[in-house]
Symmetry: C2
């Protein structure tokens, strides 16, 4: 297949994930044209998914597609914004029709979960790499920053942490399982959870209504906790036994390098009930793992000697 | 330098090209937040600039940065939209500080020319590749498509065509010249023009006011002419001696594979004066190279035997 045929294949596979009533001009022209609501600010994030870094190099296309979408949408949700549109650039060494078709299937599933539409993209020959730009909307002035936590605020996380390192350790035992099977296992299987990160679109309302600060966890919990107090004179205390770990996960790994794409947020104590109600109604579990303190101390209790390797992942 | 330091270096170099009064939340958070005007539709395009394909593999960073911006902005302008915001994802093998700093300089210059702002991006280790997502605005319902040309419409192009193949042929004679020197030479030197494609932001008003169809030339003139009548029963007649060629450029090359990023558009005959006035006031030359015909014939006069290799560039 040539480039034009491959793009048509992708569009066919995307189905409704490539169509939207607000999409005025879709693929095939120089650029896409979409409607934008008045009084909504635009939230934009670009993420690169590298073969062999963000996904295993032998990973089936559908899993790569889904994970690429999840990685990118996660940043938009962490701003309290509703993901609306995506563009996806794929470079790949060969016109591997089967892989590309599966990739499009995974993107479609991710878009369906995130309630987003692919409005454009690019296909070129090169080392396998996916770049997703996610565009979301938030009412004017209501975006949630990552470093605006206040003293005494509760610190919350969604879901369970630590699937990444467990999955990477278990890699030799990976069995080739399809997207649909893995999707049913994300709450019980670390490999499924790692490959198919949570897409927390249904949690956006909670972030916007309750969070004083929010970020997604993509670089280890310690690095992300730092973000909450970055630029302020505040610190935090985390109760380590409250951190919702996957069975077998090590706290040190979770602090150092978990990229679970769960939400880490702070919220005023008087919003506890509201957060818990949102969790119940959305079916997304939340755990209160500590609080922001007015001094610049960072403490972990009772494990005072947890070494906080907080530098996060650096590509260089 | 590590990733965080490199990103700071890029932001420092971008200067005002990374700041904008409408940018509510810039780099450093999960995503950027920007204002959006009511009644404006959003135009989005993503382009990948591959090392060794879209730019020579030994190309200095500033030229790659500028060209990446120009390639992407071009698609937005071709919709009659005003470029507003960019995100830029760079993958590079090593933390080559000098190259990355120069790249940021080139992006800044391209943004200045295009009057756009970088609002986000991504930096990762990998094979050198740049992915630019350009976001523009157009008044509701006024985007210009590429295939809505009408019979008897004039066919116009901006600038001169054919620099690409001349520059690639001359490659052995390339001398290392800086961005600022090359920028002064884009109207006289094919290498300067190839490396620093035109950014036609100042021509947007003409496209929106006069064009019945418009596309940028990124895949050879023949392929782009096809776009003007794609899906219709119309054809075109092109007067080959009216095509504005660089001295020495061969018509066959220009038809087959020119990626000059000039605008190719159609316009009603009664708008001729208006187009010429826009050209004069913007300082952007235009040439009327033919017209749309009501039959599906594609003719080139007087060179009837021009072989139209109209397939365009396929990566696969």
């Amino acid at each position: 297949m040539n480039e034009v045929e491959l793009i048509q294949l992708i569009l066919d596979r995307l189905g409704t994930a490539g169509r939207d009533a607000r999409l005025k001009i879709g693929p095939g022209d120089d650029a896409a044209v979409v409607e934008w609501e008045a009084e909504q600010e635009m939230v934009v994030s670009t993420d690169v998914c590298l073969d062999g870094v963000h996904v295993p190099s032998d990973c089936p296309g559908d899993l790569v597609g889904y994970r690429s979408v999840a990685m990118s949408v996660s940043d938009v949700v962490a701003m309290g914004a509703v993901p609306q549109y995506l563009t996806i650039a794929l470079t790949i060494e060969q016109a591997d029709v089967e892989w590309i078709a599966a990739f499009a299937d995974g993107v479609r599933d991710g878009c369906s979960e995130a309630d987003t539409t692919v409005i454009g993209g690019n296909l070129a020959k090169g080392v396998k790499q996916i770049t997703v730009t996610a565009i979301g909307s938030v009412p004017r002035g209501q975006a949630i920053l990552r470093n605006t936590a206040q003293p005494k605020d509760d610190i919350w996380v969604t879901g369970k942490l630590g699937a990444t390192s467990l999955a990477l350790q278990a890699k030799t035992k990976w069995s080739p399982r399809g997207l649909s099977e893995l999707k049913r296992l994300t709450s019980t299987d670390v490999i499924a959870r790692y490959l198919l990160p949570p897409i927390r679109t249904r949690f956006v309302d909670c972030v916007r209504e309750c969070a004083s600060a929010c970020t997604d966890i993509s670089d280890g919990l310690a690095f992300e906790l730092e973000q909450l107090v970055s630029g302020s004179t505040y610190g935090y205390n985390v109760e380590t036994h409250e951190i919702p770990l996957w069975p077998g996960a090590e706290l040190g790994d979770v602090l150092a390098n978990d990229d679970c794409y769960e939400m880490l947020f702070t919220s005023s104590k008087d919003k506890r009930e509201v957060v818990l109600n949102f969790a119940q109604s959305s079916g997304i579990s939340v755990s209160r793992i500590g609080c922001i303190v007015s001094t610049d101390e960072r403490t972990f209790t009772p494990d005072h000697d947890v070494i906080s390797r907080s530098s996060g992942y650096s590509h260089f």
